[in-house]
């Protein structure tokens, strides 16, 4: 099927005006996205990550036709989003984690009924999709509840269903698990995996949560300062960033720093010790080694967070 989303040297420059005095105004250009090029194939599930203000949301807004690029070429399903926004709208589903696309004061079902008519979804198809989404996302009891009364997790599920009713080819998810509890997160992730497998929906996911990516995406793109700094599998990202996971062990009593191969103690606090080891490596042999030699009470593994990985990667790039 080839490339479904194509960006060629896409740029977005914002003019920021700032008052510097009573009459003086300073004009400054902010390059939110800088000569960005990538392609996504149909059916791919891609994580799009980067620190705050890196240009993630700006990219998604250009891909949905909300913003017009300052330069470059951009196509989604062969459509130029900025020029044919409404035609593209039939092909895409969008979930903004922070704001809902549902009609705030009306019962959830009204938003779906309106989408049915507005997107001209055939009746049978609408019924079928709605039933399936209600079942998978467990929305049955929520359909008659006004959207403003839903909890964040419920609303998010409602939003995801709304974005998929019209069988979009692409689904953009902007922070879909932000603020959700563990159970809701797991449910949303499982659902997204299913949609991608069943319908072949292309998914582009921006997130702060590395676990979202780990569990969903085979490919990650990292953007920083408006530029693509990494594009590849998640494991490679850890390598590129030389990131480390942390094993926290609670011992029975205070001991001198433990000795294990391929890990180093980075901190000791009473009977608790922190061990850093490469993220690409399994924690199991490490734990086995420790358990055999030291009196263990408890342990836990901490994943590196995206900010840390990217910061490290960035530092390495700029270092001579």
């Amino acid at each position: 099927m080839g490339d479904f989303i194509t960006l060629e040297n896409v740029e977005k420059v914002f003019q920021v005006r700032r008052r510097t005095g009573l009459w003086r105004r300073e004009r400054r250009e902010v390059r939110a996205v800088d000569s960005l090029s990538f392609t996504v194939a149909r059916g791919e599930m891609v994580g799009y990550i980067g620190p705050n203000g890196a240009g993630k949301s700006t990219t998604v807004k250009m891909l949905t036709g909300i913003l017009t690029p300052s330069a470059g070429r951009l196509r989604v399903a062969g459509i130029d989003p900025a020029r044919e926004r409404t035609r593209l709208a039939h092909r895409i589903g969008v979930v903004f984690g922070q704001r809902t696309t549902l009609w705030w004061d009306l019962p959830l079902i009204d938003s779906y009924r309106l989408a049915h008519r507005m997107y001209r979804i055939p009746d049978a198809r609408y019924r079928q999709n709605l039933d399936r989404l209600v079942e998978l996302l467990d929305l049955g009891a929520l359909l008659d509840v006004p959207v403003r009364q839903l909890s964040l997790g419920q609303r998010m599920r409602g939003d995801i269903a709304a974005a998929l009713l019209h069988d979009p080819d692409v689904l953009y998810l902007d922070e879909p698990t932000i603020g959700l509890d563990v159970v809701s997160k797991a449910r949303v992730r499982e659902f997204l995996r299913e949609v991608n497998a069943e319908r072949g929906t292309t998914v582009l996911l921006t997130t702060h949560d590395l676990q979202d990516i780990e569990q969903l995406c085979s490919r990650v793109m990292v953007i920083d300062h408006g530029r693509l700094v990494y594009d590849g599998p998640l494991a490679g990202l850890h390598e590129a960033g030389e990131s480390e996971r942390t094993l926290v062990v609670d011992l029975e009593r205070e001991l001198p720093p433990v000795e294990v191969p391929s890990a180093r103690v980075v901190r000791v606090e009473g009977p608790r010790q922190w061990l850093a080891f490469p993220a690409g490596q399994s924690a199991a042999p490490l734990v086995a080694h420790l358990a055999a030699r030291y009196p263990l009470v408890d342990l836990s593994v901490r994943e590196p967070d995206i900010e840390a990985v990217i910061a490290r990667m960035y530092a390495e790039r700029t270092a001579p």
Partner: protein
Amino acid sequence: MAEGRDRRIIEGVRAYGLIAGMWVRSTMAYRASFAMTTFGNFAATFLDFVAIMLMFSRVDALGGYPLPEVAFLYGLSATSFGLADLLIGSMERLGRRVRDGTLDTLLVRPAPVLAQLAADRFALRRLGRVTQGALVLGWSLTRVDIDWTVDRLLLMPVMVAGGCGIFCAVFVAGAAFQFLAQDASEVQNAFTYGGTTLLQYPPTVFAKELVRGVTFVLPLAFVNWLPATYVLGRPYPLDLPRWTAFASPLVAVACCALAGLAWRAGLRSYRSTGS
């Protein structure tokens, strides 16, 4: 090009109907509440007119117009404005939507943003204002002494439709302005609510400069002043040819076209600068 525009208009009207219909159905789920808010709307605007009636307990005429003739002006202005407010009064919320970013959610739907925005929170209770205006107009017609000719009779519905069009244009232009100044809904209110209040009084009570401004710059005078003075057989304070009394629909079309251009420019600037 023209075909694309026609399709956009059809799509817009369709989306407007869908969204407004949804709001009406949801309001009708609570009939008692609907009846009460509609009555409240009616009563609040009726107090407006009571204020004018009280004024007439002290004077016999305002700017040479007796009460029934002022009621005639009032009824025309209130009905035109009420209709426009009913149809697209929700536009004034644009500024808030730009500020909190929820405008983006309208941009990802397959329908024109203007139609979605105008139909959002479509409130049938605003019929209260229209009803009140129409009642005052009806009452005035039983009291004023009009020499009814065919052209004067025809002018009545033309005037209301044209006036509604002109107010709609003011609403859209005001919303377009909010793309630039996001907290300018008060400025918009000055022209919409302020405009209708102004038109409720005879043009003869205002200074010539103001009347000129309202005739040539922001042509609100075409809502009722110009056509109504013709129907009443009274002179207009400015020396204008007679046909201008019939120009409301043309002025309305021109205003809507200008407002449409302003809207497109506003939306384009939003889409190229972001929120």
